[in-house]
Amino acid sequence: MKFLPLVWRNLLRRKVRTTFTLLSIFVAFILYAFLMTIRTAFSMGVEVAGVDRLMMMHKVSLIQLLPISYLRDIQSTPGVVLASHSTWFGGTYQDKANQFAVIAVDPEPQLKLYPEFKVPDEQVKALLADRQGAMVGRALADRYGWKIGDRVPIQATIWEPKEGSTWYFNIVGIYDGEPTVDKTNFFFRYDYFDENRRGAYGTVGWYIIRIDDPSQSAQIAARLDAQFANSSTETKTSTEKAFLQGFVNQVGDVGAIMVAILVAVLFSILLVVANTMMQSVRERTSELAVFKTLGFSNGLVLRLVMAESLFMAIIGGVLGLAVAWVLVSAGGFNSAFLPVFVLRGRDIAVGIFLCTLLGTLAGALPAMAAMRLRITDALRRN
């Protein structure tokens, strides 16, 4: 610890070099945070998916509808605690480009199935009282400036209403939740939807089913599917996690692409830092020899050089992560494409580990060189 001022002085010796090395580490870790945020956004909640929730959809594909009569059969299946349904509505707001998830649901069981959606009680009551009521996510409400009480027209894409081509909803609730919860959904009442659409009455998109024992999910799913086997509408039930994972896999391996880019970034930065440290040790050859002559042990010299490298990597890295965290929290990168945009604590921890690793690797060779330095050779060199 008492050598800290020495390490600090050494870093200040070449201000330009230290500054630029620090800046490149700093930028690299902002980039790291950005890549990890994209990765989280594209994992679409796979990691926070409820372990006790199953999704049941049509066996042929998710665009095929299921009869609402299945609900009673599902609820009476052993192992099932609660079940409800959702139907994809599509729809656009004002402009064709303004698309978001508009979903027809049965509000009461929906909110019980998804406790992560936080809504004030009086807003739930308002939704139950208003057939045209809708509950929207905080992020979506902010994007379009919606407030409670607003009447919102949604253009039909799939489901045309009985009259015209526009559906009208009253915003009666705004839900919130943890940063990892998708707050860009638009929920409205299924009873209004079924009554006002032009056909396909009594059908729903998919069922969400809560089970009592997550370890039995495969058996319960099989039991549910067996009930509807050989009917005109066969089903496929999977855990919510598997369903979301399948959806993410359809987009492509965004995670792997992000990691590959990250490797390229960190490798370049490693070279920059290692080169800086190498130069710094080379310049100080005679000085290090003098240290050793004065009785500094080999181990201490090694630690001094390592400390310098670590110091730089950690200062640059932590500053980069901090700035990125502020930017992400302030919604600096937010866009309509990525519903969930958070820098998770785990990614920050990995980031800190990575900058420590960077400092260690970059310092290793120069520090070894400094340690192996033979006093006589080093002093003779000049």
């Binding site: 490149s24 980039l31 998710l62 492509g252 970034v265 370049s268 494409f337």
Partner: protein, 395 residues
């Protein structure tokens, strides 16, 4: 002329001595190469996706969908309406029959080979005229399917990306049973990710009654578009929209392509900043190690401009090396890489290949040179301003 000769002479010295400063030069080269690889690779995804989507479109083909629908997936009208559309003027006719196909576009779950998880594979129901309307379709293996049976043909890209759609196999899902009798190519377009069968078959299995989702038709000339559109959209029997097929697919690809471009440019910009810092360090080191030499040149009467240019030339040479190496590596590693993703407009899979285009490589190289220029600028100014007497006195 003398000024030029001086500049060239000094610049050639600095470039020829690069190998003496190898370790720090490599840092700049690798840094810049890394940026160019990532830049080119990410954008080649966007290029490939766009190419697959837009090569589907022909300006002489039109797509008719229900008004308000944002894609074939959400569109729908009944058989009678489809028949009215086919009577419109401006359509190419083969004898008395219009070259127009009423189609259904649905999804069927198949496992993706790369992940083993279900993916939404598009299944298109067509009419015989579809093959006249889309003249780029060619049967690559097997034979075409017979209308009125449950046979189907599969695009080569779908065959490559998904399980259970091999030639000769039987695709079974719920009430749907398809016999795969052929594989087809479609000029590398999005149709190659689709499975095609008789539209009547889908009407039955997917409970669509006598309804369709779109009519794809060929115009007798690209100029007939307005005639056709005006007739169809002003006909009170119909509630439809008309788009050129090329425009329809171009619009479908914009969301994804602009997302990839946005992310690609942001990453490249951030990496570029880090690489410029690396390059600045390298060039400062280079100038520092040549302090003596530069001061001597100046003392001999070489002007400051030639010193400035020589440092910039070295930095640009390193950047060019990095840019070329990065571009080449990106080309070798990624060009033609086959993958598939989801088209968010229809939730269906689109197979495509990464495309490292000459324009991308050129942009990458220009970006590399820009980084080199910025990285070399401050060290170059410093070298040019070096006070001769004190520089020579050092050491």
């Amino acid at each position: 002329v003398r000024w030029l000769a001086q500049t060239l002479a000094v610049a050639s010295i600095s470039i020829r001595t690069i190998p003496q400063r190898l370790s720090s030069s490599i840092v700049a080269i690798v840094g810049i190469a890394g940026v160019v690889i990532v830049f080119v690779a990410v954008l080649s995804i966007g290029e490939g996706f766009q190419a697959a989507m837009t090569s589907a479109g022909s300006p002489t083909r039109v797509l008719v969908m229900r008004s308000g629908a944002d894609s074939e997936m959400t569109s729908g009208f009944n058989g009678a309406e489809a028949d009215v559309i086919k009577q419109a003027p401006g359509l190419l006719r083969n004898g008395n029959l219009p070259v127009a196909s009423s189609e259904l576009y649905v999804l069927v779950d198949r496992n993706k080979r790369s992940t083993g998880t279900p993916a939404n594979v598009p299944l298109r129901g067509i009419e015989p005229a579809a093959f006249q309307a889309r003249d780029e379709i060619q049967i690559a293996q097997g034979r075409n399917f017979t209308f009125g049976t449950n046979e189907a043909i599969v695009g080569v890209a779908a065959n490559r990306q998904f399980e259970g759609v091999e030639l000769g196999s039987e695709l079974k899902s719920g009430e749907l049973t398809l016999k795969i009798v052929g594989l087809f190519t479609a000029n590398g377009s999005v149709a190659e990710t689709e499975i095609w069968c008789d539209s009547r078959l889908i009407q039955g299995v997917y409970r669509r009654g006598n309804s369709y989702q779109s009519v794809l038709a060929r115009l007798d000339s690209p100029a007939s578009f307005d005639t056709f559109k005006d007739w169809v959209t002003s006909n009170p029997q119909l509630n439809v929209q008309v788009r050129r097929e090329s425009e329809y697919y171009a619009a479908q690809s914009t969301t994804m392509t602009s997302l990839i471009r946005g992310v690609g440019y942001t990453i490249a910009a951030l990496m570029g900043i880090a690489a410029v810092f690396g390059a600045i360090l390298t060039m400062y080191t280079a100038v520092a190690s040549r302090t003596h030499e530069i001061a001597t040149l100046r003392a001999l009467g070489f002007n400051t401009i030639s010193v400035l240019v020589s440092v910039l030339a070295e930095s640009l040479a390193l950047a060019a090396l990095g840019g070329l190496a990065g571009g080449l590596l990106a080309y070798v590693a990624f060009n033609g890489y086959q993958t598939s993703t989801m088209n968010f407009q229809t939730f269906s899979q689109v197979a495509f290949a990464f495309r490292v285009t000459p324009q991308l490589l050129t942009t990458g190289l220009i970006y590399a040179l820009t980084m080199g220029l910025i990285g070399g600028l401050f060290p170059a100014i410093r070298a040019a301003r070096l006070p001769i007497s004190s520089a020579l006195r050092e050491l």
